[in-house]
């Protein structure tokens, strides 16, 4: 709540609102003025297309925090250094409203009207799939700190990159680890929301179980706003050892509440995405403890690098200071997307604004980039099903534990904590 109040209309927006009124009805005139093309050369300008309203506003909000924090921190550190001079970073936002059509217009606005140097990507695969072709056409670099849907990388867009490994990898690897916990699960019930990301998640969970030779009792997809008591009742009658669920935070909350109401109690729930967000914990109001999740990053994690933020813990502190909430991996990956640009621009060595050829060069640099950050090592695949997706950062299973439902790493990794398993209340 606090961070939203902080975002009340500032002066710049106000000017834009005033300009907007003028633009109404006289598109032509506004078009000639170019609406915001008055950019100077003293800053790197990034366009941020993300969904602050509509169905996917949860995640949109998280990505915004990630991008904002990167901008704030880098500007406090003097900006991006190119050939001995420093250039501050400027972000300009457009709300894609979880709507591909609005997202596509926003992308075009960023490129032709705002004349940004590069774009930070939208939240949700539907919007990404509408934005990416525009990046292709305009040859503008585009990194998304949140795009986890495998569909995006299958399209092989040359100008689109993603810092979060696709969910096919995250959910599968975490699921396999959770299935290896002792006592080993013999059966699993897989449910999910019938949405592009969620369905990919649920099917990755199912694949993981089948790989491990665990019986999959059901693979049950539902509309996101369904009443989850039906799923819970079916699952309860199947009596699985574990329940896996692919969806967004809202559906996790509804599912777990329904499970609580119907006394459905498997050895553990594994939900992805978002158990490590305060949205999820607040939504369940203290009943989140014991839930398994997957992540590629945690505040407590050790990573090799520390560009801009010294460590994961430093980043988490900065995030808490700024937003009064613990960051999750989407936020971290969004900040990391900024750091990747930072590194790439330093390598490029060109002052803003970037020309078309410089933008193309930036894309080539991104293809080969290797950045060590608080978030982990970032590189992008150059071929295959995960083309331009960062598959380097390794996924981990987590569990919410302790009084304040802190997410801790569980499973087989060296730093893993003991899992509360089978989960006792």
């Amino acid at each position: 709540m606090r961070d939203n109040l902080k975002n009340t209309v500032n002066r710049r927006q106000f000017t834009k609102a005033a300009g907007l009124t003028g633009a109404l009805g006289v598109t032509g005139v506004a078009g000639c003025l170019g609406g915001g093309s008055d950019r100077g050369g003293d800053k790197f300008k990034f366009g941020v297309v993300t969904s602050l309203s509509g169905d996917l506003r949860f995640g949109g909000e998280v990505t915004r925090r990630g991008y904002d924090l990167w901008k704030k921190t880098i500007n406090e550190n003097g900006g991006i250094e190119v050939d001995g001079s420093s250039y501050e970073v400027e972000l300009t936002y457009a709300d894609a409203k979880s709507d591909p059509s609005t997202g596509a217009d926003a992308a075009s606005q960023m490129i032709t009207s705002e004349k940004v140097d590069a774009v930070l990507g939208p939240y949700s695969s539907n919007v990404t799939l509408a934005v990416a072709p525009i990046m292709e056409k305009n040859q503008t670099p585009h990194i998304s700190g949140s795009a986890e849907s495998p569909r995006i990388w299958e399209e092989q867009y040359k100008h689109t990159f993603g810092t979060v490994p696709t969910v096919t990898l995250i959910a599968r690897q975490a699921a396999e680890e959770i299935l290896s916990l002792d006592p080993t699960a013999e059966s699993v019930y897989v449910s999910g929301v019938n949405g592009p990301f969620s369905k990919a998640t649920a099917s990755a969970m199912r694949d993981a179980a089948e790989n491990k030779g665990v019986e999959v009792l059901a693979y049950d997809l539902n509309p996101s706003d369904t009443d989850w008591t039906s799923v819970v009742s079916s699952a309860k009658s199947e009596d699985p050892d574990l329940h896996f669920h692919g969806g967004h935070i809202g559906s996790h909350v509804s599912l777990l509440k329904a499970a609580d109401q119907l006394n459905y109690d498997p050895n553990g729930f594994f939900c992805h995405y978002g158990v490590n967000t305060s949205d999820f914990k607040d939504g369940l109001g203290g009943d989140a403890s014991g839930t398994f999740g997957a992540t590629v990053w945690l505040p407590s994690i050790e990573r090799t690098g520390g560009k801009l933020f010294g460590s994961a813990a430093d980043y988490a502190k900065a995030a808490r200071d700024e937003f009064d909430q613990s960051p999750d991996y989407t936020q971290a990956a969004s900040s990391a997307a900024g750091i990747v640009y930072q590194q790439a621009l330093e390598e490029l060595g060109a002052a803003p604004p970037l020309s078309d050829t410089e933008q193309s060069k930036l894309v080539s640099i991104l293809e080969d980039i290797e950045v060590q950050t608080f978030y982990g090592d970032v590189t992008f695949d150059k071929e295959g099903d995960f083309y331009h997706n960062n598959t380097t950062t390794s996924p981990l299973p987590v569990q919410l534990q302790g009084d304040d439902d802190e997410a801790v790493v569980v499973g087989s990794s060296a730093s893993a904590s003991e899992a509360n398993y089978p989960v006792s209340e």
Partner: protein, 296 residues
């Protein structure tokens, strides 16, 4: 659990889900039947009620149930103030009053939803309760989630209270007179403005109360209202427009169809079956499931 228990559990789930829809449908049926307002904001009253629960409950010891009377009173007052506006746009010499009311309340709904999103952000919020958690298991039948049972009971009770008010009290008689014929009611000395405002206030209060319970069952979020708006519409046409007790039947039908489809045909099909069913039912029985509604 054996499969007969899954069946009985699914029926329980369906009936209780129907109970949730009843809490939303009751007030809506009243404003439609009596005030002839098709209120697009109905789901937003649910959302506002749930939000009130999420924000006020932590201040009153974390007990969402304590918010119920407050929500009723607060939204009763809100409704009383909003009604004259709706009344104004749906009367007079305006063309297509039905549509005017619809669009006005569409604007109202957008305003409510947008305000909450802007002020409180997109997060899902918990509406806490200590009194109602978990479910009561009844051997052989299944589990009755406490909070859902209470919600369904409240839904049915408010319907009964409504019926009592409408048919046994002076105020109710006045409201029914208005529904019959505004001009005659006015001639009879009924202050129609007052009673219409009261009726709308009661609707807003009741729907927000339903929202607190829905918040207890699920959670509160700024975008939650839309689906309840849709369900409220479907509830009243299946009930038969203007026929209040039909609300129970349509709640049961919608709840059971949803629950049984999810368990026996597949979760993906739930809304396809539900909306398809509503469409077909409307074509074959426009006068409602019981055939007691009025056909326009």
């Amino acid at each position: 659990m054996v499969s007969t228990e899954l069946l009985s559990q699914s029926i329980i789930n369906g009936l209780l889900l129907g109970g949730i829809y009843v809490t939303v449908g009751v007030g809506f049926a009243l404003v439609f039947g009596v005030l002839e307002i098709i209120d697009f904001a109905v789901g937003e009253y649910v959302m506002l009620g749930a939000f009130t629960g999420a924000i006020v409950a932590p201040m009153v010891g974390g007990e969402g149930l304590l918010v119920v009377p407050l929500a009723f009173v607060a939204f009763f007052l809100v409704g009383v103030v909003i009604q004259p506006f709706i009344h104004h746009v749906t009367t007079g010499d305006r063309p297509m009053p039905l549509l005017m009311g619809l669009v006005f309340t569409f604007g109202l709904a957008t305003f409510m939803r947008g305000s909450i999103l802007t002020i409180f952000g997109p997060n899902t919020r918990n509406v806490p309760t200590n009194a109602l958690s978990g479910g009561i298991e009844i051997g052989g039948l299944g589990t009755f989630p406490e909070v859902r049972v209470v919600t369904a009971v409240v839904g049915v009770l408010s319907l009964v209270a409504f019926m009592y008010y409408l048919y046994r009290t002076t105020g109710g008689t006045a409201i029914r007179a208005i529904a019959e014929d505004r001009d005659i009611a006015r001639l009879m000395g009924v202050n129609i403005n007052r009673y219409q405002s009261i009726a709308y206030g009661v609707y807003a209060g009741l729907t927000a109360t339903g929202g607190v319970f829905i918040g207890l069952i699920y959670s509160a979020g700024p975008g939650m209202g839309l689906q309840y708006t849709a369900f409220a519409f479907f509830m009243i046409v299946l009930a038969g427009l203007g026929y209040l007790p039909g609300i129970i039947i349509s709640g049961i039908v919608l709840g059971l169809a949803q629950s049984l489809t999810a368990v026996y045909l597949g979760g993906e099909l739930v809304f396809f079956v539900l909306f398809g069913m509503i469409y077909v039912l409307l074509l074959v029985r426009p006068e409602g499931l019981l055939g007691k509604g009025e056909v326009a």
